[in-house]
């Protein structure tokens, strides 16, 4: 690459192009920003998505409703369960399938565990970008314990393929809840260490406090959702506002940080992690016995009645939505996936990154916890 000045005669600076990604440790996943740089400062950011584009929406139209269950976890790799749940909930709504209470509790457990795993993954990314490798190693190491739980429950470490229209595929294995409870105890011990090691760390605070400030109005205008939106002071959580599953039976709060900067974004996640643990503990106590799946027709005869529905789940990154259209056949007519990172990664980043120094770009990317596969699809 050459340090070529771009032809902008009215400017004395030498601009040059810098690729953040795809082959760059500072980017999440396989995604790229092409930055036009002015010294150490970003003058223009252009996202270059599609490096992970697999054409999910097309492939889903070619597969049976339930076959797609193997496909959709891959839309958001670090947190696959939200896809499964959102998709199944959409089907259940359209086909009017009742989901047993126990299955709903299990789904909440899975979702909240996935949220914790996703937090650990996301903040470890921050550790990686700021050079705080020890925290990255710790968090990913601890995330593995969640993967163990998932593996025992579902038979797969990352792609669980555990949800099924009408409930979940199999019951909790014997002793699983004890194991979960042990894990929560362990997390309870580790969390203060994380706080001291990461959140109270003066340099982490120096790097993130005040970085990438966004006001509440701007956040809404730019389509931010989830923790990123809440960190700006809009206390809106689908789990509270439009309770799905059994979230209305559980006692939890939406923490408020509201500074709108990078630090409050990770802090928001950290505080929500505490709430997740609270939810999980309640679930362990409250989970009822009983069936865990309503029987639905087998995959070859499973037809969803004509109609369309937008089903959504609060993921750790924001609102994960599935807009599904059925023409009454065994295959979906159209599935549109609304990834939570779409607006922030492809649109808001072009605004937010401008004027930012190069060293802050990866930090900003990681504090927004964006996940390229969910907008590349």
């Amino acid at each position: 690459m050459e340090l070529t000045p771009l032809n902008e005669s009215n400017d004395d600076y030498r601009y040059y192009e810098l690729f953040i990604g795809p082959n760059h440790p500072g980017i999440e996943g396989n995604f790229s920003y092409i930055l036009k740089m002015k010294g150490h400062t970003v003058a223009e950011a252009t996202p270059d998505p599609g490096l992970l584009h697999r054409g999910f929406e097309k492939l889903m139209e070619r597969r049976l409703w339930t076959q797609n269950l193997a496909l959709i976890p891959r839309i958001c790799v670090p947190e696959p369960d939200v896809n499964e749940v959102a998709y199944c909930m959409g089907i259940e709504h359209m086909a009017k399938i009742e989901v047993p209470k126990r299955a709903q509790y299990i789904r909440v457990i899975v979702l909240e565990l996935a949220r914790i795993a996703s937090f650990l993954f996301g903040v470890s990314g921050l550790g990686g970008t700021t050079g705080h490798y020890t925290s990255a190693q710790w968090l990913i190491g601890d995330r593995d314990y969640i993967l163990d739980l998932f593996e025992w429950l579902t038979g797969g470490r990352v792609y669980h393929i555990y949800q099924y229209p009408g409930g979940v595929k199999n019951d909790l294995p014997e002793g699983w809840l004890d194991k979960l409870s042990d894990f929560l105890d362990y997390m309870g011990k580790r969390l203060p260490e994380y706080d001291k090691f990461i959140f109270k760390n003066p340099i982490i605070q120096k790097r993130t406090v005040g970085l990438g400030y966004i006001s509440a109005d701007e956040a809404i205008e730019n389509g931010l959702t989830g923790p990123n939106l809440r960190a700006s002071g809009v206390i809106y959580d689908i789990r509270k506002a439009q309770p799905y599953l059994v979230y209305d039976e559980l006692d939890f709060e939406i923490p408020k940080t509201g500074d709108g900067d990078a630090f409050s974004r990770i802090l928001q996640r950290r505080l929500e992690l505490g709430e997740s643990i609270k939810i999980l503990r309640q679930c362990i106590k409250q989970i009822p016995q009983g069936p865990y799946r309503t029987k639905v027709p087998n995959p070859f005869q499973f037809r969803v009645p004509k109609g369309s529905y937008y089903s959504k789940v609060e993921s750790s990154r924001g609102e994960f939505g599935y807009y599904m259209v059925s023409d009454g056949d065994v295959k979906p007519y159209r599935v549109y996936v609304r990834g939570p990172s779409y607006s922030i990664g492809l649109y808001y980043a072009t605004k937010a990154l401008v004027g930012m120094r190069i060293e802050d770009v990866p930090v900003w990317i990681h504090t927004t916890d964006m996940c390229p596969p969910d907008f590349d699809r």
Partner: protein, 307 residues
């Protein structure tokens, strides 16, 4: 006889080079082990760095022009040259020429040479990295200079051999006791010199894809690694000579070096990276303050109070 002497010196020089390299690599390996432990894992064998170096030297490499090659040589040779003047325990290759200023000057030369080389690669990442490295250098060289000034003033000499000699006779004579603030400043500076976190802005893999090293591959990276290892040995060695009273024999010298490096590694393990301007301004604040304070104390002690 001159020829024989020259040959002896030459082989001794090679010996020192090899020794410094081996020690540097070993330190690197042990540091990786320590880091790994803090990160709750086992880490690579402590000989890993040797294997890495060997592999790098056996690997194919791409040059980016003569300036690239020359730059690397210019980065590598001064570092080795500086090493020749370092009193290693009781041994000094050129006892009469261990001028501190010269060593520091040669070290800076090495970095500038490196800068020239990597800039020739044309990769913006390495340009950014190099500009960061130089900016950082501007940061830590100032407090370092302040401390050196104190030592000059205190020891009334610029030769390391003499500084070491002055500290003989027990722990209480070491400069670390006499100039604790200066030592503190230098330890922080050492963190910066070695490019360990929080001062690794120059390489910063996640930001600028390892900065200056971005276009170095194979043998070039191998030379970079040698340079880094030698620098590690040299820089810790200087501080051992300056503050820890040198050493009666080689092993103790290495042990002292390691203690210094150990602290660096621990800090490296628990702190993330600062922004580059923050790092520079940090050097101009705390370490510089300590350095100047030390200088003032020394001046007051030596000049005014005449202790």
């Amino acid at each position: 006889m001159v020829i024989v002497e020259f040959l002896i010196k030459l082989s001794q020089g090679f010996g020192i080079g090899a020794l410094a390299l081996a020690t540097g690599l070993l330190f690197g390996g042990i540091a990786r082990k320590i880091m790994a432990r803090i990160q709750r894992r086992y880490g690579p064998p402590f000989t890993q760095n040797f294997m890495d170096l060997f592999k790098l030297l056996s690997k194919g490499s791409v040059s980016h022009g003569w300036a690239f090659d020359l730059g690397l040589v210019a980065g590598f040779v001064p570092m080795l040259a500086a090493l020749m003047f370092l009193p290693i325990g009781p041994f000094t290759l050129f006892p009469s020429d261990s001028s501190l200023i010269m060593i520091v000057y040669l070290m800076m030369m090495a970095y500038l040479g490196m800068a020239m080389g990597v800039l020739a690669s044309g990769n913006p990442n390495s340009a950014i990295g190099m500009s960061r490295a130089l900016m950082l250098m501007a940061g830590y060289e100032v407090p370092f200079a302040a401390v050196i000034f104190s030592i000059y003033f205190f020891s009334k000499t610029g030769y390391l051999t003499q500084i070491v000699a002055m500290q003989s006779g027990g722990f209480m004579n070491w400069n670390i006791v006499k100039m604790p603030l200066g030592f503190l400043a230098v330890e922080i500076v050492l963190q910066g010199m070695l490019g360990e976190k929080p001062f690794d802005q120059a390489i910063a893999p996640a930001e600028i894809a390892s900065g200056p090293m971005v276009e170095l591959g194979g043998k070039y990276l191998g030379f970079g690694m040698i340079q880094h290892s030698v620098a590690l040995f040299l820089e810790t060695g200087i501080i051992v000579d300056l503050f820890l009273g040198g050493a009666p024999n080689f092993w103790i010298f290495i042990a002292k070096q390691f203690v210094l490096y150990f602290v660096v590694v621990l800090v490296d393990a628990i702190l993330p990276r600062l922004r580059v301007h923050e790092a520079t301004s940090f050097f101009w604040k705390l370490p510089l303050f300590l350095g100047i304070l030390q200088a003032v104390i020394v001046i007051i002690q030596g000049g005014v109070l005449n202790v």
